[in-house]
């Protein structure tokens, strides 16, 4: 077996196990801070999985944006609000049971559907994982969405200021 494949195999198994552990941790941690930290673990692992696929740029962005920026924001708000632990994460009622059954039925169904598809190995080169081809694509073919995504960001900024600012009677 080639060295590249071995590295990919190791990366895949390490990070998929870690990532799923993080996801399960998010699902069962009753303390919001621990749940957020499990999610950080999950995001790091997904960055590792990107790396194993050769998507270096996205792996870096994943860590910078998700683990670095978004989760810090989450943790900040959780600390700010100083919320209580959630009760009853481990108790089962009908709705919870139904949610679990539905969720796993979805996975099972998808696995049946997907069986036989995409069975080839996930090795090989990935041209668009590097920074240069991505930057080229972003500023040529994807120029328009790249400009338009700024509207989403600015709308979110205005909105957050509108909603989160303390209420005063002379607004605007």
């Amino acid at each position: 077996m080639e060295a590249a494949t071995t590295i990919q195999t190791v990366l895949f198994w390490t990070f998929s196990v870690l990532g799923l552990a993080g996801a399960v941790g998010l699902l069962f941690n009753r303390n919001a801070v621990y749940a957020a930290l499990s999610l950080v673990l999950n995001f790091f692992s997904i960055a590792g999985l990107y790396l194993s696929l050769g998507a270096e740029f996205l792996a870096a962005v994943q860590i910078l944006v998700y683990a670095g920026a978004i989760m810090v924001l989450f943790l900040f708000v959780i600390m700010l609000l100083n919320m209580q632990e959630e009760k009853g994460v481990f108790t089962f009622d009908i709705r919870r049971g139904a949610a679990f059954i539905l969720g796993f039925a979805f996975v099972a169904e998808m696995m049946v559907v997907l069986k036989g598809f995409w069975n080839h190995e996930a090795g090989g080169e990935f041209t668009y994982g590097k920074v240069e081809p991505i930057g080229r694509a972003l500023l040529t073919d994807y120029l328009f969405p790249f400009e338009m995504i700024s509207i989403v960001l600015i709308a979110a900024l205005i909105g957050a200021i509108l909603v989160a600012r303390r209420h005063t009677h002379q607004e605007g």
Binding site: S16, Y50, L81, A99, A122, I161
Partner: protein, 104 residues
Amino acid sequence: MDLLTPTILSYLTVSLLMFAIGTIGVMTRRNGIVVFMCIELMLNSVNLALVTFSHMWDNPAGSMLVFFVMCVAAAEAVVGLAIVISIFRNKQDIDINHVNIFKW
């Protein structure tokens, strides 16, 4: 050893499992912020699937979509947490059972 070598399908399986865990979390958790984190998990699992497909086809469309999903997720986080803060100011509580999110 060959059995261990990851296929496209193995990446998809991981992505699907994360998506399902996120969905279950949205339906069972009661803390609004945790529910929102579960939605972020779902978006990430989709991103993983997209990168896998992008790798498989060796074309940029999937990677680009991932990039834009990340931007949107960041924007959503800002808006969502702003809404959570404003609700917390009035109620001191973001238990979504009190907000009746899934009231039929």
